[in-house]
Amino acid sequence: MADEGQQQVDKAGRQIFKVPKEKLLEFMRARKDEGFNHLSLITGVDRKDHIEVVYHLHSVEQDRYIVVKTTTNNCTVPSVTSLWRSANWDEREQWDLMGIKFEGHPNLKRMFLPESWVGHPLRKDYDLGNVQYINMDEDGEDYSTFDPGDGW
């Protein structure tokens, strides 16, 4: 495993692998075959000039925990839903809040916010001054609006 990707160790003693996104899927498949059967979390870090995507992998049998990091300049990363089914919702959450597009995801819709929400709120360039509100229509579906209206 040491020959693939740059390797570091974090404060908790976990190995960190930095992998280019072109090799991500291949790297992740090898890790899954190695026994990392639990994708603990996916998160994103906005570094302003690029976006970093972080995966925490856990092997239940071997009691091992590793961190895989990749970077992207155009906000697209290959999806790992084909390896771990739990990545489906994790990637939808990252699309919703960070605006990271996961290529090959079967159902890349927003997780928490309504589809009509403008922008991705955890990005550094998100405009907090442009306040958005959520209302509910007759069918109970949410929609976002810039006008507070009667519902507020």
Partner: protein
């Protein structure tokens, strides 16, 4: 002198309005409704240690149609706000609202966030504000007794 308590307290004269207000204030039935951590303190208030039943509002109703007090306990997110409003609309008159905790009063620690309503009074009218993060059960009981005084038309002090 005969001191046997036979339950007879003679004759009381009052107005019907006063009697109604007295009854209403001592049978406040809150809605079972918690949004965040303040709800834990609300449950503690209802439990045996603090026992809000002493003040006549122990019966947390599961349906808004049977309750007349809404304790908004916890951060109101923008996504939850339309639901809060719908629950409030489903409650029958007379109905009262207690805003519990700073999140509900003005946004609290989330005041610079994108997802939190800055005060539930933007969505529904509020009668009593109980500050704290979270307020203690005693503070919430004080809020309820304040509301009861208000319903009876007495001074808050």
């Amino acid at each position: 002198m005969d001191k046997v308590k036979d339950g007879d307290f003679g004759i009381i004269t009052t107005t019907l309005e006063n009697a109604m207000e007295w009854g209403r204030s001592n049978s406040l039935w809150p809605l079972t409704f918690g949004l965040a951590c303040c709800a834990i303190e609300m449950m503690a208030m209802q439990g045996a240690n603090y026992d809000v039943a002493r003040f006549g509002s122990e019966i947390f109703r599961n349906s808004p149609r049977q309750s007349d007090l809404m304790i908004v306990a916890g951060t109101v997110t923008k996504k939850m706000a339309p639901r809060v409003k719908r629950l409030y609309d489903e409650m029958p008159f007379p109905k009262y609202v207690i805003a519990m905790g700073v999140c509900v009063i003005q946004g609290g620690p989330y005041v610079k966030g994108y997802s939190v309503v800055l005060g539930v009074d933007k969505v529904i009218p509020v009668d009593v504000y109980v500050p704290g993060c979270p307020p203690t059960p005693e503070a919430l009981i004080f809020g309820i007794t304040t509301l009861q005084k208000r319903i009876r038309g007495e001074s808050d002090r």
